[in-house]
C-alpha cells in the first residue's frame, strides 16, 4: 500500500499474495492455460500480472475501476475489464461476464475491501463466484490496529493519507477480529495466511513523537504492553487465503454492555491430595460476609480417586455455593498452568487465588470489594498471616492441625520497591483486576516452577498499581510436614526461579507508581548515608585484606618454607603451634600489623632475606 511505483517484492503484499497462490495452486494442463484464469479485482497497476502468468501458468485478468486504467493495462498486453464489485445485485452479472466460459482458478483482491462501505456485500458477491468455480480468494486488508496507528490515536492523532493504512478512500477499517467476523458473516473461511509485517508503517510520523520514536521510555513501555496484549502490532496488511463456506449470522458490532459478572472469581488449584484442607477452605468460603463470587476449581492431573474426592467436596457444599462452583479438569502443564486455565475461565471483575490449603476470614471478599470500590482496576491487597499446619488423624479421621500461632510477618502496605527484590505478598492476600489478564494478556509464566505468583504480581502491579488495606483477611498456611511447593522444589530451584524473575524485572520498562518517586528518593538518601559508613568499612576491610595478603605472602613464600628448619617454636605470636596463614584470617588490621612486624623481625625471615632478593 505504500509503494510509490508498485512492484512485486517477496516481502511486500504482492509477493505475499503470490506466495499464497503458489502454495495452493492446482495443476493446470498445458492446453488449458488460456482457458484458466486468475481474476485480480481492483489493482490498477496489475503488479502481479506477469508473475501470475509466468509462475502459475494461468491467464491474468484484471477488473479495474475505470476505462482509462483498463486501457493502460491493455497496452501492457493484460486482459482488463472495467467495473467494480460493490455488493450490488449487478455484481454477479459483471463477474460472470468477465470470467465467461473460462475456468476461474483463483481470485485476489488487494487492499480494496476497505474502500467499500458494505464489505460483506462485496465478499458475498465474490463468494457466489467462488462457489460456481470452486476457487479460492486471496484477500489483503490494511490493519488499522498497527501500533503506529494505535499509539498516535492514543494521543489524539488520526492522519489520513492518500494511500496506506489510513488511505482517505477507506470507508471501513479492519482489525483481525472485524475481518474474521466479516468473513464469517459473508460465508468465507480463511485457511492460510501470510501477513505483511512492518515495524514502521507509512503512519510512523511524526518521527519524533515520543510514542513513536524508537529510543523513548514511553515507546518501550507501550510497545511491550501492546506486543503481549494481542497479535498484529506490526502487521501492516492481513493477507489471507479464503474458501467459501456457510454464512454465519454473527453480528459485526460488539455490545457496549458488559455481561453481568460476579465481583470475584476465586481460582482454587488442587491435585486432590489435600481433601481435609480443601473442605476447610470451602467451609470458610461458605462463611463469607460478601458472597458475590464464583469458585473455579482447577483439578490438575487428577486420578480417578482424586477426581471423585474433589467432586465430592464440591457436591457436599450448600446449594448456593455448589451452584457457583465449577470444576475444570486439566491434564497437562506445570503447577502454574492451572492458574492460567482458571484465570481464563474467570468471569469475575476481580480474580483471586485461594489454594486448597489456605483459609480466608469472613471479610476476605468484602475487603477486596471495598478496595476495588476505592481504586477500581488496581490490585486489591489485604494482609495474610502465616500459620504452620500439618495433617493429623484423630480417631482415624483425617484433619488439619495448626502448629503455632498465626504470624503477622507480611507488611500491611504493598511496597513496590521492596517487591522488586522479594515477595512479601502471599497469593491469597491479593485480588487481581480481570483486565490485565483478559485485555492485556498478562498471563502467568509457565516456565517458572515456583514463585510464579510474585512474577505475576509484579507485572500487573507495574501497570495497575496496588491498593492496600492493613486488615488481616486470610491465613496463608505452611505445611510443617508433608508435600507442598516448598518441599517439592529444591533450594536451587527456588534460587533459579528467583533469579529468573529478577532478570525479567530488570528487562522491563515500568511505570513508577504514584508516590514511589518519594520512596526512591528517601531510599537513595538513606543509602548514601549508609554508603559513607560502608565506604569506611570497605576501606578498612581492603586494608585488612592487604595486610592479610602480606602475612600470607610471608608464610607462603618459598624462602619462609625453605627456612623451616630455622623456625623455632614460640618465637612468634602463636607460641607452641605451627604458624599458618589461616590462623590470622579474622585478625584486625592493627593485629595484623603486629603479626607482620613480628614475622618480619623473626629469625626465619631475616635469615632468608637472601632467597627473597633472588625471588
Amino acid at each position: 500500500v505504500t509503494n510509490q511505483a508498485p512492484e512485486l517484492f517477496y516481502d511486500n503484499v504482492f509477493g505475499h499474495v503470490l506466495a499464497l497462490l503458489k502454495t495452493h495452486r492446482r495443476p493446470v494442463a498445458d492446453g488449458a492455460r488460456t482457458e484458466t484464469i486468475h481474476l485480480d479485482i481492483g489493482d490498477a497497476d496489475a503488479v502481479m500480472a506477469e508473475h501470475i502468468e509466468r509462475e502459475l501458468g494461468v491467464t491474468y485478468v484484471a477488473l479495474v475501476a475505470s476505462a482509462e486504467i483498463a486501457a493502460a493495462l491493455r497496452e501492457r498486453g493484460i486482459e482488463a475489464h472495467v467495473g467494480s464489485v460493490a455488493g450490488a445485485d449487478t455484481d454477479a452479472a459483471l463477474l460472470r461476464e468477465v470470467v465467461g466460459a473460462r475456468t476461474l482458478q483463483s481470485i485476489s483482491m488487494i487492499d480494496n475491501l476497505s474502500q467499500s462501505a458494505h464489505p460483506t456485500g462485496v465478499l458475498s458477491s465474490i463468494r457466489a463466484l467462488m462457489l460456481e468455480h470452486r476457487c479460492e480468494l486471496v484477500l489483503s486488508v490494511p490493519n488499522v490496529t498497527h501500533w503506529n496507528v494505535g499509539f498516535k490515536l492514543a494521543f489524539g492523532i488520526w492522519d489520513y493519507t492518500h494511500e496506506g493504512l489510513l488511505d482517505d478512500s477507506h470507508s471501513t477499517f479492519f482489525s483481525r477480529t472485524n475481518l474474521l467476523k466479516t468473513l464469517t458473516v459473508s460465508g468465507l473461511r480463511t485457511f492460510d495466511a501470510d501477513d505483511v509485517e512492518l515495524e514502521y508503517s507509512d503512519q510512523a510520523f511524526p518521527e519524533q513523537h515520543p510514542a513513536l520514536a524508537r529510543g523513548t521510555e514511553l515507546n518501550a513501555f507501550l510497545r511491550q504492553l501492546r506486543r503481549q496484549s494481542g497479535p498484529d502490532d506490526t502487521v501492516n496488511q492481513f493477507v489471507w487465503m479464503c474458501t467459501a463456506s456457510e454464512p454465519n449470522s454473527a453480528t459485526l458490532t460488539v455490545s457496549v454492555k458488559e455481561p453481568a459478572r460476579p465481583f470475584l472469581s476465586i481460582v482454587m488449584r488442587t491435585q486432590g491430595r489435600r481433601i481435609a484442607s480443601m473442605r476447610e477452605a470451602f467451609t470458610s468460603l461458605a462463611g463469607q460476609d460478601d458472597t458475590d463470587f464464583e469458585v473455579i476449581v482447577v483439578g490438575h492431573r487428577l486420578g480417578l480417586d482424586e477426581l471423585k474426592d474433589v467432586e465430592r467436596v464440591i457436591d457436599d457444599n450448600p446449594a448456593w455455593l455448589r451452584e457457583r462452583t465449577r470444576l475444570l479438569k486439566l491434564d497437562h502443564g506445570t503447577r502454574v498452568t492451572p492458574l492460567n486455565h482458571g484465570f481464563a475461565a474467570a468471569n469475575g471483575e476481580y480474580i483471586a487465588i485461594l489454594d486448597d490449603d489456605d483459609i480466608p476470614f469472613a471479610n476476605w471478599v468484602s475487603t477486596f470489594v471495598e478496595l476495588a470500590d476505592e481504586r477500581p482496576g488496581a490490585i486489591a491487597r489485604a494482609v495474610a498471616v502465616r500459620q504452620d499446619i500439618e495433617n493429623v488423624s484423630v480417631l482415624s479421621r483425617p484433619g488439619i492441625r495448626t502448629e503455632g500461632a498465626p504470624e503477622r510477618i507480611y507488611p500491611p502496605v504493598f511496597d513496590f520497591l521492596e517487591h522488586l527484590s522479594y515477595n512479601s505478598t502471599p497469593p491469597i492476600s491479593v485480588a487481581f483486576p480481570r483486565g490485565p489478564f483478559h485485555d492485556l494478556k498478562i498471563v502467568f509464566d509457565e516456565t517458572l516452577e515456583t514463585t510464579e505468583d510474585w512474577d505475576y504480581l509484579m507485572r500487573v502491579a507495574a501497570i495497575t498499581g496496588v491498593h492496600s488495606s492493613p486488615a488481616i483477611t486470610s491465613i496463608y498456611h505452611w505445611w510443617k510436614t508433608g508435600e507442598s511447593s516448598r518441599t517439592e522444589h529444591s533450594k536451587d530451584d527456588w534460587d533459579k526461579n528467583h533469579t529468573a524473575i529478577l532478570r525479567k524485572l530488570d528487562q522491563t520498562t515500568m511505570l513508577l507508581p504514584y508516590g514511589v518517586a518519594k520512596d526512591v528518593r528517601e531510599w537513595l538518601l538513606d543509602r548514601r548515608g549508609m554508603t559513607d559508613r560502608d565506604v569506611k568499612q570497605l576501606q578498612n576491610e581492603n586494608l585488612r585484606m592487604l595486610k592479610l595478603q602480606r602475612v600470607w605472602e610471608i608464610l607462603d613464600s618459598s624462602s619462609w618454607r625453605a627456612a623451616g628448619v630455622l623456625r623455632l617454636p614460640g618465637v612468634l605470636l602463636r607460641r607452641g603451634r605451627r604458624i599458618k596463614a589461616s590462623t590470622y584470617l579474622n585478625y584486625s588490621a592493627e593485629a595484623l600489623d603486629q603479626v607482620i612486624g613480628e614475622l618480619e623481625r623473626s629469625r626465619s625471615w631475616t635469615m632468608t632475606s637472601a632467597f627473597r632478593r633472588r625471588g
Partner: protein
Amino acid sequence: VLQTESTEDFTPAPGARIQVQSVLYNNEPRAIERAFDSLARAADLAISDDIVGSVVWRIGDASPIRTFSDEQLAALQARDPNSVWIDYQWFGENTGSARGHNVLADGATADYLLIQNPDVIHSPRTLHELLDGFHHSPVGMVEAKQLPIEHPKEYDRHTGETGWATTACALIPRKLFEQLDGFDSESFFLYCDDVDFSWKVRLAGYRVIFQPSACVFHDKKLSTAGAWQPSSAEIYYSAEAALFLAHKWSRDDIVDSVLAMFQGSEDSTYTKAAASFVSARDEGRLVARLDPSNRIAVFDDGLYTKHRYPL
C-alpha cells in the same frame, strides 16, 4: 451422678435425632441465614446416609428485640424445609449462654444436643464427624474444630482427647447433659460454662474429644498487628468466670491469687469482676465444690488446659 465410675455407652444408633441449639444475642439475620444453609446441608447429607434421623434447630433469642419476625422465620425455614426444623423462641431477657442453653435443652427428646454459636458455618460433614466420635466409648462430648482461628489447646493426635471443649460447636448426648444438670448458670453467664461442663463430663468418667475433621467456620477478627482481639464483654465475663471456676473446682490458691490480682488492677473491668465474685461469696451464692483432690481441673496461668502455642 458426678464422680461415678460406671459410664454409659453413647454410641449412636442409625437415625440419631439431634437437637441443635443456639442462643441469639443481637446477631445479624444474614449471618444466621448462612449458618442455617450450612447446617441444613450437613443435616441433609447425614440424613441421606441414615446417620441422622432428624434435626431440629432450637433457637433462643436473648436479644432485647426479636431478631426474627414470624415472616422472617418462615423465610428462613423456607430456605430448606426438609432437613432442619427451626424452633424459635424469644426469651425476652438476656439469659446468657449457660441459662439460655439449659432452657433450650429443657424437655428435649433428641438423642444428642449440638450446642453451637448461632453464626457458625458447618462443613458439610460436621454431623458425620462429630457423631463418629461417640463410637469410641466412653465419650461424653465431641467438639468441632473452629476456623479460621483454631483454638490452641492441646489434644491427643490419635484419640482427640482434650482437657475441655468449647461449645462454639460441641455434641453432647442429651441423657448425659441431663444427668450432669446441664450448664452451671448459677456460676457462669457467658464464659467458662463450657469448661465447667467439660470437666463435669470428665469427672463422670467420660472423655472429651476434639475432632479436627469436623470443622466449622466461626469468624474471628485479628487486629492489624495479628493479635487476638477479645471484646470488653469477653474480658469481663472471662475474668469473672475464672474466679467462679477456681472456687467451684476447689482451687482456693487460685481464687486468692487471682482475686488479689484483679482487686489490685487499674482496669475497672477486673475490679468489677472481683467485686462480683466477692459479693456472691459474701451472700452465700457460690455453688458446691467439686474435685477436691484436683484430679480433673487444670489452672495453668489463666488457661484451663495445656495450650500448644500462645494466641
